[in-house]
């Protein structure tokens, strides 16, 4: 693992992976959007509004996936003080926050015609809103300290404590009565969805994931370069 904690080695790997992530994002979105609009059928109850699912569900999954990634990076950063793990956490937070925001808004846009309301304070929706606040808290803490090491430590602790929210989100539809439907893809009995809808959903989910990898690499490279800039600035000040 130490091999990947080396920024120079990371930059070399990133240079190889990034074009692939970029190509996959374009291809998967092309295929996923085509299937979402043309090959997948309207739902027998929800009609054409069901197509919102193909952006809503991947966005929600990625909101949680990014948080898990951020929490793992935070744990590694706290325990082993790997320089890259804090960089990965910082780079992930805005992307995860964007996905969580999108899942909330597209959920609202789906809820209005189907449930008759933009919002309800039930367990699934509220725990997802808390996830958005956790991302915002993490980003605020990262920016609140002049000392990078203290910022990394404080935000990592917040990310780890907030990780308790992830199982709450996942099981919220089972533990509490919710307006939100139950799990229909990741269940013990396997997916409960027709394959004409499952495939576009999975391809869109992979498109979102490829997009995340692409943006993550760009943002991590930016953070690493910014660190180098800070070191040069210090040199400049000390040399003058």
């Amino acid at each position: 693992m130490h091999r990947f904690a080396n920024p120079t080695r990371f930059l070399r790997i990133a240079a190889v992976v990034q074009p692939w992530a970029m190509g996959l994002t374009v291809i998967l979105f092309g295929a996923g959007l085509y299937m979402s609009f043309f090959t997948s059928p309207p739902d027998y109850q929800q009609g054409e509004s069901v197509r919102i699912m193909y952006v809503h569900v991947p966005a929600a999954w990625m909101g949680m996936f990014c948080y898990a990634a951020m929490a793992i990076a935070s744990a590694v950063s706290l325990i082993w003080k790997h320089p890259l793990s804090d960089v990965a956490g910082r780079a992930t937070a805005p992307v995860g926050a964007a996905f969580t925001f999108l899942s909330l808004v597209t959920g609202s846009l789906w809820g209005k015609p189907m449930w008759g309301t933009w919002w309800v304070w039930d367990a699934r929706l509220t725990s997802m809103l808390i996830l958005l606040f956790l991302y915002m808290g993490y980003m605020a803490l990262q920016g609140a300290f002049d000392d990078r090491a203290r910022a990394a430590k404080a935000s990592a602790i917040l990310a780890l404590v907030g990780a308790v929210n992830l199982p709450i989100i996942k099981f919220s539809v089972t533990w509490w009565n919710s307006l939100h439907q139950g799990s229909s893809v990741i269940t013990m009995e396997g997916p409960k969805m027709a394959s004409s809808m499952l495939w576009p959903l999975l391809i869109m989910a992979f498109a979102f994931k490829a997009y995340y990898v692409w943006v993550l690499l760009v943002r991590m490279r930016q953070e690493i370069t910014a660190n180098k800039v800070r070191i040069l600035r210090l040199k400049q000040v000390n040399g003058a």
Partner: protein
């Protein structure tokens, strides 16, 4: 065609969902790339500014390696 855009009467909801998702993801991608480019430019500029000074200091026996 008209039928496709109306989405069985749910057009407003469906298209605003896809539109907003595309907008947010594009803005995040473009701003990340632009921020990388500008940081890289700053880095190159600073490297040019700092390097000549270091060359002058090479006479010092304990030239600090950062």
């Amino acid at each position: 065609m008209q039928e496709f855009f109306s989405m069985g009467g749910y057009g407003t909801y469906v298209w605003s969902s896809y539109g907003l998702t595309a907008f947010v993801m594009l803005v995040l991608l473009v701003s990340s790339i632009r921020s990388l480019k500008s940081t890289e430019a700053t880095f190159e500029r600073l490297k040019q500014a700092v390097t000549p000074k270091e060359n002058q200091k090479t006479e010092a026996p304990n030239g600090d390696e950062a």
